[in-house]
Amino acid sequence: MAVTQSSVSHSYNGENNTSSIAVKGRFDFSLHQQFRESYEREGKSTRYVVDLNETTYMDSSALGMLLLLRDHAGGDHADITLSNISSDVRKILAISNFDKLFNIP
């Protein structure tokens, strides 16, 4: 089985003070450090977008990482959108009812 390296990339848009974090490949514990650094490196943004377009899989530790981001972004006042979600990842988010904590269009 070919193993593609998972990775996290990050960009910041100063105009609307939005941080975008894109996760590629399997979103699991191996990305813990990278994911954390991606939002801790910058100061606080008003909005966060986590782009899951190229995310193939997500486990419960990934859900935990999203909760950490939410905590960093202000907890109940956080404005975080999970975008470009595949149907598999959508199922995982639906079982956990994470739509009660994140904007899931």
Binding site: S60, G64, L67, D76, D88, I95, N97, F98
Partner: protein, 570 residues
């Protein structure tokens, strides 16, 4: 390039039968700052090596008594895992001879006559290798130690976890469960316990994280589950407490997905709360459509207490119906192509394995066929009703002497709307009544009756719900939806609970009156109907009559009284 960090002087063993060569080489090596010991044949070299453990050996190939090849083999053996570089000193030039040097364990060779610069370079290079090997060994040993340490920690955590997950009443006849060995340590938790009225609470949980962190979270969770279940709390209160506790102690990124359910053998219902677990299933014995017990909530430990949602769903359960819960190990199993087993495949297994006795095996087999190997982190539990008559409510064990039993008193409680909305007074009332020692052998019955009267007063009295709604499955869920809705919006109303305890002969009598603010009903009309034994309503009245010494309703139907009597004092 940086100079080597630690170029400590080495002890170098030089073995050469030619004294001139030996002295020449010794002086070169000494001048480079190393200590030298010398031998004139292989045998001596081995002896010296044994005694002084030099770090590097320069070995002449051809020597009397024992040649360099044999000495090299022995020295390598003596050195064990540590790298003691051996450089052969040789005037041999044929390839075969040089190959022999390396075969015997030599790491390099140096041709005579000696070139100082090359010798110094070779000693340095060999020393680097030696250090590298030493570092590797050191790290390997460190990793081994850490690994052993971790394994031991995991063993202890697993032992604790096993204790927690295997207490309770998982061995009851209506429970079938399977937890593969690794599932426990994957953070899967399965708990079951009887309530004071003989109902059963079951929890299947799945902590984020494995091993120790999961075991740490499992302990308070199990404590709340067993403690509150034994005291007669309902699902909502237990869930709120579990959530608050986990939220308080767990780091932000840790939580516990869980399905908690209450099997009510008297009422023939199952009450369910699912936060973050895969769908559970309610399989009907008559082949009608199976019900999915869907996750409607966030997992435990995520939301603060103020925002936690404790709404449950209630489903009617008939003898022969089965409830199945499973961990995500089942649907998330993936094959070599990275496909998940998924819900559709699972449902196909349900269709081909109608026999509940073989369903687990069927699921495991399907997972194995799909994945090509068996899965070791799967948890499943299957539950059914047991005949309520045959199920004696669990009796509690007391350790006090019975000398201080209160036998002549009365009390009245009035619970008003705001309290009714969010508080269950029964565990407190039950605890109070347990102080009467003569009543203790009937505590299960007492609790069942109290629970029945309280929920009747609340649902039919205060909330004005019509039990006729519960005639069929659709009405049943409508009934409980309405119950949640009306309770949440409740602003007026009360339930009064009168307790009166009097001595009577050598024992005593407890009289309970439950009064509500509802519209009441005509007892002669309503209670005159023969309640159908297998219908979805009407069981409550029967239950109250069976379990108490006497029971009766006031003419307006707004209050009901029951009596419990006992014959001896302790």
């Amino acid at each position: 390039m940086k100079p080597p960090v630690n170029e400590e002087p080495l002890t170098v063993l030089i073995a050469d039968d030619n004294m001139t060569d030996r002295m020449l080489l010794s002086s070169i090596v000494r001048r480079q700052g190393h200590a030298v010991i010398t031998a004139s044949n292989g045998q001596e070299a081995i002896e010296l090596f044994r005694q002084q453990r030099p770090q590097l050996v320069l070995l002449d190939a051809m020597m009397p008594v024992m040649d360099g090849f044999e000495a090299a083999r022995t020295i390598k053996q003596l050195a064990g895992e540590a790298l003691v570089p051996i450089i052969f000193l040789t005037s041999l030039t044929e390839e075969q001879a040089l190959v022999r040097c390396l075969d015997a364990g030599g790491d390099d060779f140096l041709a005579k006559p000696y070139n100082q610069v090359i010798l110094a370079a070779k000693i340095k290079a060999m020393d680097r290798l030696r250090r590298l090997q030493a570092t590797v060994l050191e790290q390997r040993d460190l990793i081994t130690r850490h690994h052993d340490y971790l394994l031991n920690e995991q063993r202890v955590a697993k032992a604790v976890f096993d204790q927690i997950a295997h207490s309770g009443c998982l061995d009851a006849p209506n429970v079938r469960y399977l937890q593969s060995p690794y599932a426990l340590f994957n953070g899967d938790l399965l708990l079951a316990a009887y309530t004071p009225s003989g109902d059963m609470h079951v929890l299947l949980g799945d902590f984020t994280g494995h091993g120790l962190p999961a075991a740490v979270g499992a302990m308070p969770l199990a404590e709340v589950f067993y403690g509150m279940t034994a005291k007669g709390y309902g699902l909502a209160e237990i869930l709120r407490e579990m959530n608050a506790k986990l939220k308080r102690i767990l780091p932000v990124d840790m939580f516990c997905c869980a399905t908690l359910l209450r099997l009510s053998f008297q009422r023939c219902t199952v009450e369910v709360w699912n936060g973050g677990m895969p769908d559970g299933y309610l399989h009907r014995h008559d082949g009608s459509k199976r019900v999915a017990l869907v996750s409607r909530h966030l997992p435990l430990g995520v939301l603060p207490a103020t925002r936690f949602e404790d709404q449950t769903e209630v489903w009617p359960l008939a003898p022969g119906d089965r409830v199945l819960l499973l961990s995500d190990g089942v649907i998330e199993t993936s094959n070599a192509q990275d496909e998940s087993f998924g819900v559709e495949r699972l449902e196909r297994v349900f269709d081909t394995h109608k026999n509940p006795e073989s369903l687990f095996e069927g699921i495991l087999q399907a997972l194995e066929d799909f994945r090509g190997e068996s899965r070791d982190d799967v948890s499943m539990v299957q539950l059914a009703l047991i005949d309520a008559q045959r199920q004696p409510p669990a009796s509690l064990i007391y350790s006090d002497s019975g000398q201080s039993s209160p036998l002549d008193w009365s009390a009245m409680f009035e619970f008003r709307a705001d309290t009714l909305r969010r508080f269950n007074p029964l565990p407190y009332i039950l605890q109070l009544l347990q102080e009467i020692h003569g009543l203790r052998s009937q505590s299960g019955e007492l609790y069942s009756v109290l629970a029945e009267l309280y929920s009747n007063a609340l649902e039919h009295g205060v909330l004005e719900l019509d039990s006729a709604l519960k005639r069929d499955a659709a009405g049943f869920s409508r009934y409980y939806a309405l119950r949640n809705e009306r309770l949440a919006a409740l602003e007026d109303g009360y339930i009064r609970l009168h307790l009166q305890v009097r001595p009577q002969g050598v024992g005593g009598v407890l009289r309970i009156v439950v009064e509500d603010s509802g519209k009441g009903f005509d007892p002669a009309k309503v209670l005159g109907r023969t309640p159908s034994v297998h219908g979805l309503s009407g069981r409550g009245v029967n239950l109250v009559r069976q379990l108490s010494s006497s029971a009766g309703w006031s003419e307006d139907g707004r209050s009901v009284h029951v009596e419990f009597t006992w014959e001896s004092q302790a």
